[in-house]
Symmetry: C2
Subunit: 338 residues, 2 copies
DNA sequence: TTGTATGCGTTATCAC
DNA sequence: GTGATAACGCATACAA
């Protein structure tokens, strides 16, 4: 079978470098191309030689060189997950779902953080695109046209943003979650709502407002949007005054981060939640459940979105129905004061 | 932009495939090897031809194929950052620091999540190691020997764990932060502390206890460790009874996640913090500052740790002094009841 | 079923 | 300073 090695260590045909299929071929007494077949297309090789080759490979601790394979096949088994701002807790679940799904397909995931810079995001995309089989964009700052250009070169999926029919996207159906949230507020006696938008350029922020307005129209509530804010705790805190000025008894915010900030501002200024103001966020990020008071929120299945994005970019799934959102009632949404 | 060859679009020498240095060479009227030099080693080419080549490359929208380059040079300009559990918020600062530093060096970062499985971590490492220039292990579940094996094949840095002199690591100096925390508790009148360890296998958990014991010895306090727990909110919540049973007036936990859980358990059971029990965590994760009450904690500069890990694995920095930790006082640590 | 020959796109080693 | 040519390690038509 194998020559006697002079130790427990696998014998390396050549110095410190990793063994190649040539080394395996020599050890197994076959041609290198047979080794390649045995490892990539086992069904095209007799079971006997396949067995011999596997043993030789194991003995040598051989592993296919992914770079060489990629150069030949054009496929890298690698996906890029481009994150606009990795400090945003919503991406945690997306990353987790995506890495898990990618692993199931034998794919590795490259995660980039653009630190909110569209310039950097564009540069990373250009650099990465020849080295990956597909791109997933989460919280992208790129313009629709830039996204379309990328999508012409490699499979591309955008999470949580509709960029038209020239690029695929994983979207959420906001109505179930937002509908339930507004219904809940209506049942608690609220009649007048405020919405704190995120960045004006955010497509999803606009969608959230539209869904809120649909629900309000259906249930006969008023809704007023205040000035847009940065999607941060500071932005939410800064919005408190304006929200109170609207006379609304409940506020919905672009995301949890902002409402967490608004909650802090309310506490430090003696505005009681939910007695004086009910608060509802979006995303159900880490911390929403143990904020004080715990933050009611509308969430979408982000890990599922990450998984679906991977399946779509790999061509294993076509764009399906939007993912359902869900309302999570918590103490920050309470009855309107008598 | 259109794909029409005779439009304003860059002319593609061949069909849909990306242009190569051969295409650039033909367009610039030079040899392919000169193109390669002009792009990788501009100083070895006359400025005139370099200029011509750059123009031709730009015209063709040419980009070096990183796969082919990697096959030839053996360098991929890629690092793997292997995360033991990506749901742990501490890793996000590490990821952020590492991605930023890697970007500065023109390196891309592959992030993996082992989902707490050492088997999977080992498999990912074996699969990735031929495709990267180095490995960074954060929250690794691998045994020291496995780590040493990997370190023999590629540069490797472990974050927050000492694996001896056979692999590099980025460590924290726990004494400043823990010393300040214990001093703070002592000044508040505490005399008896409890420590809730994380997993018994966790090297860093043991280190934290040792540092606490050093500080207690110095300041004349008592410290008792209770049974180890899972490093989760559930684990921390489950430890509450045992902590109270020790008679300690203050508890330090392996990490913030656990102490956040303990805080919740205390609230739901009517144990007032800090009046009946002061609580101190580790890591200063997202949410620690707005928990109720806000959680005092000891933090290390995790983003800096990520940056340093990248520099070390790239060979740009040798292991330096441990990174300093810092105590962050917050209301969960208060005066001992009279 | 297996072996032969060639190409993937780049860099490296020579010549010139 | 530039050109020709051989690797890098694998996959794949094609021949046997």
């Amino acid at each position: 079978m194998t020559d006697l090695a002079d130790g427990a260590a696998p014998r390396r045909a050549r110095g410190g470098t990793a063994p190649t299929i040539y080394d395996v071929a020599r050890a197994a007494g076959v041609n290198p191309s047979t080794v390649s077949r045995a490892l990539s297309r086992p069904e095209r090789v007799s079971t006997a030689t396949a067995q011999r080759i596997r043993e030789a490979a194991a003995e040598l601790e051989f592993h296919l060189n992914p770079t060489a394979r990629a150069l030949q096949t054009g496929r890298t088994n690698t996906l890029a997950l481009m994150i606009g701002d990795i400090t945003n807790p919503v991406v945690f679940d997306i990353i987790r779902g995506a890495t898990a799904e990618a692993a199931q397909h034998g794919c590795t995931l490259i995660v980039t953080d653009s630190e909110e810079s569209s310039t950097r995001e564009a540069a990373d995309a250009r650099r990465l695109i020849p080295a990956v089989d597909g791109l997933i964009l989460a919280i992208t700052r790129l313009a629709d046209e830039q996204i379309h250009d990328l999508a012409r070169r490699k499979p591309l999926v955008v999470v949580n943003r509709d960029v038209g029919d020239r690029a695929a996207s994983v979207l959420a159906d906001l109505d179930p979650g937002i509908g339930a949230a507004v219904e809940h507020l209506a049942e608690l006696g609220h009649r007048r709502l405020a919405y704190v938008p995120g960045p004006v350029v955010s497509w999803i922020s606009g969608q959230r407002l539209l869904a809120i307005e649909r629900a309000c129209a259906r249930l006969g509530l008023d809704c007023e949007a205040v000035g847009p804010r940065r999607p941060t705790r500071e932005g939410g805190a800064a919005a408190l005054d304006e929200v109170l000025a609207t006379g609304a008894s409940a506020v919905l915010g672009y995301n949890d981060m902002m409402m967490l900030g608004l909650l802090e501002a309310a506490a430090s200024r003696g505005v009681r939640v939910p007695e004086q103001l009910s608060v509802v966020g979006f995303d159900d990020i880490f911390g929403a459940d143990f904020a004080s008071p715990p933050l009611a929120t509308v969430r979408m299945p982000l890990a599922l979105a990450g998984r679906r994005a991977v399946r779509m970019v790999l061509g294993h799934e076509r764009a399906g129905a939007p993912l359902p959102t869900e309302f999570v009632p918590r103490p920050s949404a309470g009855p309107v004061a008598a």
